[in-house]
Amino acid sequence: MSLKLFRRSLWVYHLNSGSCNGCDIEVLNIFTPYHDVERLGIKLVASPRHADVIVFTGPITRETLPKAIRAFFAVPEPKAVVAVGSCACGGGIWYDSYAVIGGIEAFYRILENYYKIRLPLTVYVPGCPPKPEAIIYGIAVLRGVLKQKQRKTYFLEKEVPALTRDFIVNLEKYMKQEGGINIGKK
């Protein structure tokens, strides 16, 4: 992606789409003297026309959907999206509510179906709300400065003991013998 453009300068437009303001406070937190992301060239702008990145907070309620779409198209290409908080990442606690679209992925589905556009690069920052450091880390991942630590983990149980009457009755004896089954070890 064309993120080389944003390597030194990144202007952020903060779009609250029905958030509870928890994430908004954390997003504003990264601009305080303590975290001061201006040293990384990140600046909060008020107009989506000036922005490079949209910071989505909130689960995108029905009321904000048309506004969110307008703001999305007001940002010039190439753009990127930072989904901050559980609500923006996957709908959060309201994911199945009738009043809510349900996170950035559902939003993208709407955009794909109705506007047929190429989706922008998106970074998901889970947390309820995420730490300010987590947001900074997300932006660093987006820029390619830091490597992504989180990977999908998948575990498949391979071997299970055959459940026989004898085995289950004399469970303690078998467990001592095999030593491999550590079920319920506190």
Partner: protein
């Protein structure tokens, strides 16, 4: 031929340092807020990024919206050619002081026209404020420059600068007044009413994006440098050797911008009527100073 080359070199040098001066200002502002602050070249990085991005136009735009950033930029570069900066040589002709006032005033009119043509409501509010500030601040600037012209009995910038060697009362007062007016015209904090960021989301700049936004930002920095340059020219003594001139000019420029930033950190934004009231009180003072200058005091 040499003459034009020197003027062009001057302009290019100013085009290069203008964002750097802004970067230094941002750094100092950050230090006053106990932050680390952006690198000094940050403004350049921002501008380069903006120039490489496309501009989106609104649905109901007109020609003025598209071309006004470039007109403003051209105005500012031309105005920079008129004032002597790194060298004593500048585009100098009879009546260039009037052209200077015209260029500064017309750029702010074009800014207002361009943002009104974008069709955005916030831009219209910003343009409204811009015009109501500009009518007064440009009048004040014209009055101050007229005072200078009256003091030296000349209409050429080359013969007006520097104003100070006859240490008259009117000269000193008019320099102080010009510094205040320049501060107002720079869109520094108590007077950044047209582009009030949290209030009317960047006001006049709200619909500009990409290249045109970059050009507009760039011309804002150039305007600051232009006003600083005029102040430096007013007080820089004439007997400085030519080799030392660029260094002394740059130091004065830096000192001015640092002073202005330190002043800026004090204030919150004024309401539009407060700013207008402040400027209205300056008009009679300026008229009196003009009269004193006419009497050679």
């Amino acid at each position: 031929m040499e003459y034009i080359a020197i003027v062009l070199a001057n302009i290019v040098a100013i085009l290069i340092i203008a964002p750097i001066i802004d970067g230094i200002e941002r750094k100092i502002k950050a230090k006053l807020q106990c932050r680390k602050g952006p690198p000094i070249l940050q403004t350049w990085y921002d501008l380069v990024k903006l120039f490489r991005r496309p501009s989106i136009v609104t649905e109901e735009y007109s020609l003025a919206y598209v071309i006004s950033p470039y007109i403003i930029f051209a105005n500012m570069t031309l105005a920079l050619a008129l004032v002597p900066s790194f060298t004593r040589i500048s585009l100098s002709f009879f009546g260039d002081i009037i052209v200077l006032v015209y260029l500064i005033a017309s750029s702010s009119i074009f800014l207002a026209i361009g943002s009104i043509s974008s069709g955005n409501v916030f831009a219209t509010i910003g343009a409204n404020r811009e015009i109501s500030l500009a009518t007064l601040s440009k009048l004040l600037m014209a009055l101050v420059l007229a005072t200078f012209a009256t003091l030296k009995r000349a209409l050429t910038l080359g013969s007006i600068f520097p104003i100070i060697p006859p240490y008259t009362l009117s000269a000193i007062i008019s320099i102080i007044l010009f510094a205040i007016i320049a501060y107002i015209d720079c869109y520094k904090l108590p007077f950044d009413i047209p582009e009030a960021e949290p209030e009317i989301i960047d006001g006049i700049l709200v619909e500009y994006s990409g290249k045109s936004l970059g050009v507009l930002k760039y011309s804002t920095y150039l305007k600051r440098i232009l006003l600083f340059t005029i102040i430096v020219d007013l007080i820089l003594p004439r007997n400085i050797p030519t080799l030392l001139l660029p260094i002394s000019y740059f130091t004065f420029l830096l000192a001015l911008s640092i002073t202005y930033v330190c002043v800026e950190t004090y204030f919150g934004r004024l309401r539009i009527d407060q700013a207008l009231k402040f400027m209205k009180t300056m008009v009679p003072i300026l008229l009196v100073v003009w009269f004193i200058a006419y009497l050679h005091y």
